[in-house]
């Protein structure tokens, strides 16, 4: 019997669906999982992915990708490349392994949800490939990170981070739970494939791959490039879903896209912004975080939303202003609270590095330079303990990152301002106006306790620094510290320094 040609069977296979006679459609596709909302059920019949793939084609391609990635890894395993990597770059990879490996697993569950509850056979079919992709990403990221545990225990957080109550892990779980786990599949298709995968994964996987190669970390570049090749295929679940939703419920489409873009931008400022502008050695930096955001995220995002008839988000000005502030402040926060993280954050504010920062971000010295100068003078005076924290940063009730975004007043002064909200008998604080707005509109959903909330509720015992570190799962062999204080303070050694905590001048 002759085999059918591809075009003769694919149209049928990719879109298998049938009418139910023993149960209602609602029983199979309940609203709380399928989320059709104002979209008539039959409208989903028009759902069509632009790039079609069959299972044999998928398996053959993925097999090649896996073989290539693991061959490079096997070849490099016997080399001493890792030993020669810069500590700052290693930190970028530790942050990535811990922050990403089990986020990929959350994406497996999101794809499986779409594979079960998606409102069109072609969509469900595409989501099956998507979940296989995400399972591969979970495996490869966990396995590549695992290799280094014997050399450095911080790599153990590749698998551990997401399962702890570390504040960074809480923030990421909060983001990905809302994006991938708790939502219905229509919202998931907009949040995960459309906003996050067509946009923000470029940041961590494309930008960081370039910096990885420049830093000599071929293995890491190879791993994340291999992952990124999958994104283009399964991320196309977003477009057809948005197209249908916009037609029947543009307000919902706009809201879901807007809030996800914002939440992703906040998290990636911490994850990628710090890696690109601080942890990557100066001589290996390809672009600043801001430049990369402008080229890869902003232009593309604006084109995408306009193409589908949506508007720029309501917070657009606040977001653009944040490109000069957020990741610099988060870097300082991660550095100051370094015992609470599973990597070794390099301050990276030597004279040359500051000149680069000031060139890329003209306000950097004015907003951040003064604080780093006091920290530098304390280190040079032999008072490193004065640079360590004795309390918690206040964490935003929406993004769970520190409230650390200075804004400029009309008079020109830069201050971290408060964005409070009284709701349900208590006061919440937010890092930005948009985080407050998202909390208010989503308050029945995004309402997790921050680490500060947990501390004040007595969930962390004893209520001291040791208790907090224990609650977060940090042990002395893993707690972060700056890998080389001299590297960024020696340029300033010997300069006069007043107004330090350790000197009499500190007291009026």
């Amino acid at each position: 019997m002759a085999l059918l040609k591809r075009e003769e069977w694919q149209g049928f296979v990719r879109d298998v669906d049938w009418s139910y006679s023993y149960v209602d459609d609602e029983a199979v596709y309940p609203e709380w999982h399928s989320g059709t909302g104002k979209v008539p059920r039959e409208a989903w019949l028009a759902w069509e992915e632009s790039y079609k793939v069959s299972y044999p084609e998928y398996v053959a391609t993925q097999r090649e990708k896996e073989a290539a990635a693991y061959a490079v890894k096997a070849a490099l395993q016997r080399s001493s490349v890792w030993e020669g990597l810069d500590e700052g770059w290693k930190s970028a990879t530790k942050m990535h392994f811990g922050g990403v490996s089990l986020s990929e697993y959350a994406a497996v569950l999101a794809e499986l949800k779409m594979a079960r509850f998606g409102l069109n056979g072609a969509w469900r079919n595409m989501a099956v490939f998507g979940q296989l992709d995400e399972l591969r990403h979970t495996s490869i990221t966990t396995f590549f990170g695992h290799e280094f545990i014997s050399r450095d225990p911080q790599y153990d957080w590749t698998q551990k981070a997401f399962q702890t109550n570390d504040w960074v892990a809480i923030s990421l779980r909060n983001l990905f739970d809302a994006m991938m786990s708790s939502a219905n599949v229509v919202d998931i298709a907009l949040q995960l494939p459309l906003v996050f995968e067509t946009g923000f994964t470029n940041l961590q996987f494309v930008a960081l791959a370039a910096d990885a190669l420049a830093s000599g970390d071929v293995n890491f570049a190879n791993m994340i490039s291999s992952i990124q090749t999958d994104e283009a295929r399964h991320s196309q679940q977003g477009g057809p879903t948005l197209e249908i939703l916009v037609e029947y419920d543009p307000v919902r489409a706009q809201w879901v896209v807007d809030k996800t873009f914002w939440a992703s931008a906040r998290a990636l400022a911490a994850l990628t912004g710090t890696s690109m502008d601080y942890y990557t050695p100066l001589e290996h930096r390809k672009q600043s975080y801001r430049e990369f955001m402008e080229e890869w995220i902003i232009d593309q995002f604006v084109r995408t939303v306009e193409q589908y008839g949506l508007k720029k988000p309501w917070y657009w000005d606040e977001f653009l202003q944040g490109l000069d502030i957020w990741h610099h402040a988060l870097h300082m926060g991660l550095w100051v609270w370094r015992p609470t993280i599973w990597w070794r954050p390099m301050a990276a504010v030597s004279r040359d590095e500051r000149a680069w920062l000031a060139e890329k971000y003209p306000n950097w010295e004015k907003v951040f330079g003064d604080k780093w100068d006091v920290i530098i003078d304390n280190v040079n005076a032999g008072h490193v303990p004065a640079t360590l924290p004795e309390t918690l940063p206040w964490l935003c009730s929406t993004c769970h990152l520190p409230c650390c975004n200075a804004t400029q007043s009309r008079g020109g002064t830069w201050r971290v301002r408060d964005f409070p909200l009284s709701y349900d008998g208590r006061t919440y604080h937010f890092c930005t106006k948009a985080c407050r707005q998202i909390f208010w509109k989503d308050r029945a959903n995004v309402n997790h306790l921050t680490l500060v909330d947990r501390f004040l509720a007595g969930q962390i015992q004893p209520m001291d620094v040791g208790g907090i570190l224990g609650y977060m799962g940090l042990t002395p062999d893993v707690m972060g510290d700056d890998p080389d204080y001299q590297a960024w303070t020696r340029d300033y050694a010997g300069r006069p320094a007043e107004g330090l905590a350790s000197t009499a001048a500190a007291q009026p």
């Binding site: 100051v336 006091v374 920290i375 206040w394 409230c403 650390c404 604080h429 007043e498 107004g499």
Partner: protein, 97 residues
Amino acid sequence: MTAEPGPEDRPPELVPLNAVFATDFVQILVPVTTANTMAEVAAAVAYHVEGKRVRALPYEKVVIYQGERLPAEMTVAAAGIKPLDHIAVEYDIPERS
């Protein structure tokens, strides 16, 4: 017959605050009590930042709450500052004449 006890007569209660010191880059958690004066509150906030991230200046420090400068001797209870409220602490730098 004695007068009804006011807030100042109660035993001090813990008041965790969201605080920011002058030009510092982040809001921090600072616990004070209802009996603390604004001078003590300012010092409690400054302890975490002054000379550590913000260079110490030879001026008095003032607490700003809901846009108002509060007197140094006023207590947290008298000021009506409640748990989880936000305060800013600033140097009282004389205006240049």
